[in-house]
Every structure is written in C-alpha cells, then in structure tokens.
Amino acid sequence: MTKEDNMMTGAQALMECMLAEGIDTIFGYPGGSILPVYNAMYDYRDRIHHVLVRHEQAAVHAAQGYARASGKVGVVVVTSGPGATNTVSGLADAMMDSTPLVLISGQVGSGSLGTDAFQEVNFVGITQAVTKWNIQIKRPEDLPAAFAKAFYVARSGRPGPVVIDFSKDAQTNSAPFHYEKNREHSILSYCPYPNIDMAKIDEAAALINLAKRPIAMIGQGVTLAGAEKELYNFLEKSGMPVASTLLGLSAIPSDHPQYVGMLGMHGNYGPNVKNKDYDLVVAIGMRFDDRVISNANTFACNAQVIHLDIDNAEISKLIYADVPVLGDAKETLPKITRRLQPRNHSEWIKEFRACDRIEMEAVIYPSIKPRTPYLRMAEVASAISEAYNHKAILVTDVGQHQMAAVRYFKYTSPRSVITSGGMGTMGFGVPAAIGAKISMPERDVILFVGDGGMQMNMQEMCTAMQENAHIRIVLLSNNYLGMVRQWQELFYDRRYSATPISNPDYEHIAAAYNFGFRRVERHDDLQAAIEEMKSYNGPFLLQACCEQEENIFPMVPAGASVTDVRLE
C-alpha cells in the first residue's frame, strides 16, 4: 500500500523505509547528528531491534557477520564525524568481500555543510573508494527513493556496502512519505544482472567436455548467488574435482567426493601443487585474488580458463579468461550443465588423494595429533569442529588462527565460514561473531581469534553480554602476533620486531564481561574444556595456550608459483 500525503519527519521515514524492506535488526551507536533518528527509533523499538555496539567499526563488522550468516542485508546506523570515520575499515572490508550493507550516517545540518562544523566530515568523499554507492540526503522527501535504491544496490548483482549520509535537518524536517521498492531496471545506469551470452555458454560447455584434467575453483560468488544446488549438479555431471577459495568454503561440504581442498597461500597441498597439470580451470564466482594465484604469470599456465562471474570488471583482471561467462552463477551454471556430457574424472581425482596423503603425513597428522608437549592450533580447531559435528558457524579473526581454523574445520552446510578475506581486517572476529549469532540464534557460532585480534575489538564482549548472544570465543594464544612472527622467522632472520605481545588475565576479562571461561594448556585437558564450552549456558571464552612458535603450513611464499608450495 502506498501512503500518499502521509507526512512524517525524515527520521521517522527512515524507520518506515526499514520496515518496508523487512529490516528487524540494526547495529549502531548514537550521537549528536543522528539523534533525531534514535528518537524516532524509540517508537519502533518493538519492531526494530537496535544492537548497541561499543565502537562503530564493530557495528559494521557485526552487520557483516549478520549479513554473511543469513544472506540478509546488514544495516548500520552511526553519527557523523568520528562515528562515521570509525566505520571506514568495516566498509572497506565489506566492499572487498562483497557483503551487502546499508550504513546510515548522521551528518550536520545542510546549512552547516562545508563549514568545519562540530563533528562534520566529508563522509561521502571519504567513502567513495570503499562503497559500492553512496549518497547524501539533505531533504526528507529524497530519502525513500534513495533508501530503496541503496537497499537494492547493496544486495543486487555483486553485493557491497552503501552509505546514506543523512543531514540532521533532513531527519527533523517533514515530507509526505511514499515508499516504492526499487525495481531491477529502474536505475538506468546500473545493470546488476548482465544478459547471458549463450555463445559463451556453448563455448564453455565444449571446453569442459574436452578437458582431461579440469578443475573447478569456487568462490563466495556461489554462496552469494545461492547456487549451491546448481554447483552440485554441475559437479555431478562434469565429474571434475573442485577446490575452494577461502571465502568459497562451505559452499559444498568438505566430504564431497570431488572436493580436493582449499586454494591459496595456506591452502591444501593438492590443488596448489597440481596447478601446472590443469588443462582447464572453471572459475565460479571467484576473483583470482593474489593470495590464491600468488604469481599471475605462472598460475594455471597450461590451462584454459572459463570464468563465471557477475562482475565484468573481474574478467581478465589478473588471469586472462579464454571464455568469460558473465552472469549470476545460479543462471549460468545450469545452462552449462545442461550441455555437458556426463564424465568421470576419478583417476584424475585420485592424483589429488595422493597429494592429500603427502599433506596428511607432513602437516596434518603432526598438527592434530602432536607429539610435542604443547597444544597446536590445528589440534584445537579440529577437535572443536568434531565436537560440534561440523555443523557450527566458524567465524575467524585474521592471522595464524584464521588459517588453522579454516583448514581444520569441516563444513556440512552453506554459510558456515565468516572471515575477513580480502581486507584481512584484524578485530573483525568478535563483532562479526556477535552479528552472526544474532542473525542465526539457533546455530552454534564459534569464533577463533588470536592474541592480537582479540584485543582489537575485545570491548564487544560487552555487546555480547548486553545482547545475551551466546557466542563461543576460542582464543588461540601464543603470546605473539603469530602470522607476522612466522614471516619474520621465515623471511626476516627471526628478527621478532614488535611481535611479542602480552595478554591480560583472560579469566578476569571473561568474568568482567560475564563470560564463562576455561584456560587449557595440555592435550589431555582439551576435550573436557570443549565439552564445558559446549554445554555452557551463556557466552564463553576458551583460551587455548598453544605452542609459541608454531608455523602454518603448507605455505606458498608470496609471489612464488603456487606449485612451489612448502610443506615445512
């Protein structure tokens, strides 16, 4: 129903816009220039739940966790000036990892714009490089259409963050409210779903039918398109092995018979070391990130490349696409599958299993069943994944623990990994876990975090307390900024510059934030600690004190060919 001549303030209109788009949860922090919005929010508090974070950066990360766990659009509300600038890292992270967000920032009154007013900052200018789209609203009558467009742009095509910079007078002034959702073709300059070129579909299918040593490389695009089933069918008919990027993890279950592991710097041995053997790469919703390809000149140098992506700017950006297939994977994949001859590549897949055995012996087994006295990161991750029957949502921060966790967790359902991939934003973990738990309360949410990232947004434990969000934090402690230390060990003669880090007493921290707590240092105590965490009714912090100078392997040294992957 439209509500012509329904006069209301811009602030109230914002609330109505949110309801119209089905938003029931927002993350934010109030302040001067957004006060009218918070005032209007008070009347909607039974319908729109506001999660008060403790830092605006965390509001964005929490909204990212919320969006990535549920597939919904994350919404953030902050004030102008520092409230706004604090969100920039989060926006950049969401931009890089294609996360749909709408951020509403307060702005000084339109009459004060450009006068260096209190808490004024050119937020539209600042965020142009880290948003998919942004707009400043200075009149209440402009808000509904802008909001509809913002919401549509954020979630359509390749998703991303959008900023609405909302001046204070536009929040307080009144205008008739009328809301209409944005249609696919109503923005002339924006075509989120490109027309599918059937000639490319035919070419792609022909190449796949001829390939002897093909591999599918999947990225987050599969999840964003909701194309898991379409991927299944494609894999079943093509018979080809499939590897995943970091963000593609959990799009198919880890125990899928054709799954050969994770790509990239700390990925599995097989998909990296076999790279020169591929005669065809079918890239599906992935962007050949430098952590995946390492060296663009040597990557898949004997292969032809079919690249399925919705974003034309990703085609041939780093790796030349012999056959670009533009479009939503949910549409393009079945069209290709229909044209495939059923194939069986089991002999080819066996070659990966041989690699798995090498990795198992050299890396995995010594990591999950260590003979050393100290706990190892992989051991903790593997045991926890097992304890939750591989059904939990894994959230990570950034660093060694991240690689250990994503490598040693197993996945049984989609949207089970939430990690900062492209930006590698330390401090992402704690708020993202809270957001994920709030959006998916029925799922177990387990955060892996290191000593560094924990202290970057540790204050958000208080948000978890206030929200009664029962997240599980697994802190892999080694008193180092571990990933940087690893590089210093391997590439900088063990000169541990600024990487030793002391920790607070986490037992006290946990108690202060009303978290359950357990510290574990010995192999024999691990299982009991996990059980305690599992059964605890409330948020929980498990500090696992791990071997201090453990390194993450396999590892592709930066810039090397991925086939030069090191096992030690």
Binding site: E184, L188, A313
Partner: protein
C-alpha cells in the same frame, strides 16, 4: 609496456561527486589525467566526460571496466586518437604590436578582443598546434595562456550509449507494465 594515448568517454547520470568516482579508479591505477572535459551529451539527462589519459592496452580496458562498474556510470568507451576527431581550444593574451600580425595571419588565429595595450587570441587545434603557436608568440610577450581539455567526437556511426539507453528504457518500460498488469 609502452604507454599510449587513449580517449575515455564516460557517460553517466548527472549528479554530485561523479568526477570523484572516476578519479578513484584512476588514482588506484596511478594514471594521470592529461586533459578533461565534461558537458551534457546529445542525450537528455546524460552527462559526458571526455578524458585523455596515457596507459597500456591491458590497463585501459581494466580502467574502463572499473569505471563502468560504478552504479552511476552508464557506459565507458575507449578510443585511440585515430578513432576520433578531436580539438582543443587555446586562448592567448598578448601585448599589442605590429610584429605578431604575420603570425596571426599564418596560423589561422582568431582575434577575440583588442584592448588598449593587449590582444586576446584564440586558436583551436591539437596540442601540438597550440603549443607551437605559444612558442612563436612567447618572444613578443604572452601575458596569459590557457588551453582547454580535449573535446572529441567519434568517427564511428553512433556513440554506443544511445543503443544502451534505448535497451535500458525498453527494459524499464517492460518491467513497469508487467508490474502494472499484476
């Protein structure tokens, strides 16, 4: 790889901050804007940027795609100088004097204004033409000099953006009538 001259024509919505959006892409690629002209295009409501840059064939394609990806940008086209007819305009304020009359005659220079002790001259052409003229005039005292950005029209039959817009409008109308029929 050796850099070459390219002319980017960017068609966009007409709203605040668009140049900044384009610049964001160019800054990331560390590409300098040699000249820039913006104006309305032949199509109502469509703004046109003509940007002259130096780049490599691979890089310029990525730049075009990344600019076109911006929500407010409709289309980006990349041309080499031989695909367009282009001109720049230069204005010179020089001291009055008999001695430059020959230069004015020989270089198809227009006289825009004559003051008591100065003249304002105009010359359109390519950069080399206006640069050469500047050099000739300099010994006689050039008080002010300004050269515009490059403007260009393409030699090919149509600009491409009109067919894009027609298609988008057709889709929009179809969508709206489908919606109304529900």
């Amino acid at each position: 790889m050796k850099k070459r001259d390219y002319i980017l024509t960017v068609f966009s919505e007409n709203r605040v901050g668009l140049l900044n959006q384009i610049c964001t892409v160019l800054i990331c690629k560390n590409v300098n804007i040699e000249t820039l002209t913006t104006s309305e295009s032949a199509l109502a409501g469509v703004h046109k940027f003509t940007i002259y840059v130096q780049s490599t064939p691979e890089e310029i394609d990525l730049i075009a795609k990344q600019i076109e990806k911006k929500v407010d940008i409709m289309k980006v086209f990349v041309y080499t100088p031989d695909e367009v007819v282009m001109q720049e305009i230069a204005l010179f304020k020089v001291s009055r004097g008999k001695s430059i009359e020959r230069i004015i005659r020989e270089h198809s220079v227009r006289i825009l204004e004559v003051g008591d002790d100065y003249m304002v001259l105009e010359r359109t052409g390519h950069t080399e033409d206006t640069q050469a003229l500047l050099k000739l005039l300099q010994p006689y005292g050039v008080q002010q000099f300004v050269r515009s950005g490059l403007v260009a029209v393409i030699k090919a039959e149509n600009e491409g953006v009109s067919s894009y817009l027609e298609e988008r409008l057709r889709q929009k109308l179809a969508e709206e009538s489908a919606e109304a029929g529900k």
